[in-house]
């Protein structure tokens, strides 16, 4: 096990920009989180982050158009789960995608904010070719380590 975990091991899921595949992707992401040893709440957070990111690809990247490709790569590392999402839609400057402070008077605008609340890293990048690339990282908290990262005395 330790030997296998030392290198990244992964699974790749190719879906299209149809909202109904989101539940399938979430189920797969949930199992990968479980395999990584995340607790159930952390698994939920990882699922939510990936789901919000994909919903944004469908709505913003592809403007709601169905049938367009999305590639999700789910990888296990000894210290983290890493999920990459690649689309081939309308790209925007990566640092223009920022969390907005929740505003109860307006429905919507929560996606990126929730992503940042749920995982440790949310990094948008310019893709090699059309579209965008996003890397989501959820770190594993190992026993003997506090949540703030300080090793126990």
């Amino acid at each position: 096990m330790v030997r296998l975990m030392a290198e990244a091991e992964g699974i790749e899921i190719r879906l299209t920009s149809d909202p109904r595949w989101l539940q399938v992707l979430r189920a797969a992401v949930g199992q990968v989180g479980h395999l990584a040893g995340l607790d159930p709440a952390a698994v939920d957070h990882l699922k939510l982050a990936v789901d919000e990111a994909c919903a944004n690809i469908i709505v913003h990247g592809y403007g709601g158009q169905r049938g367009q490709p999305i590639v999700a790569t789910l990888r296990l590392y000894p210290d983290r789960v890493e999920i990459r999402l690649r689309d081939f839609g309308r790209a925007v400057p990566p640092d223009s995608i920022r969390p907005k402070t929740p505003d109860a008077s307006r429905p919507g605008g929560l996606g990126v904010y929730l992503m940042h609340r749920c995982v440790d890293e949310v990094v948008y990048r310019e893709a090699d070719g059309p579209g965008m690339e996003l890397v989501i990282v959820k770190r594993l908290i190992r026993s003997g380590e506090e949540t703030d990262g300080r090793p126990r005395p």
Binding site: P19, R20, L22, Q23, R26, A41, D44, K47, L48, D51, E52, A55, I58, V59, P102, A104, R106, P107, G108, L110, G111, Y113, L114, R117, C118
Partner: protein, 118 residues
């Protein structure tokens, strides 16, 4: 995901079962729009059967609250599980909504107070 609507005189209860996301939230929205168009005095959304909700679900509920406020109606949420509650916490909406442990609690407080009760 399933949505069941029942009218029990004083209130319209929208019972949601399953996962609420970009695919399924339009069905929840439909039920909320129908109830608020009919100017239901009280709309109670029963989320006890919901194990997952994303921002599209949250946005749908925020919209429902606004529709309802538009005509002076009551809009309540009931039965949020830990996963759903966490999303409301993250979104800082826990105090914006009237949240009850279950439909019974949400309904009970709607009943007119008895003469000696106030």
């Amino acid at each position: 995901m399933d949505v069941h609507v029942r009218n029990d005189g004083a209130s319209t209860v929208i019972e949601v079962q399953g996962e609420v996301d970009l695919y399924t939230s339009p069905k929840v929205r439909e039920a909320i729009v129908a109830a608020t168009k009919a100017r239901a005095k009280a709309v109670i959304v029963d989320l006890s059967g919901v194990g997952y909700m994303d921002s599209s679900g949250v946005a749908t509920l925020v919209e429902g609250l606004q529709f309802s406020r538009g005509y002076g109606g009551v809009f309540r949420l009931a039965g949020l599980g830990a996963t759903v509650r966490q999303v409301f916490q993250f979104a800082k909406l826990e105090r914006v909504f009237d949240i009850y442990p279950d439909v019974a609690a949400a309904t009970q407080s709607l009943e007119p107070r008895t003469a000696d009760g106030s």
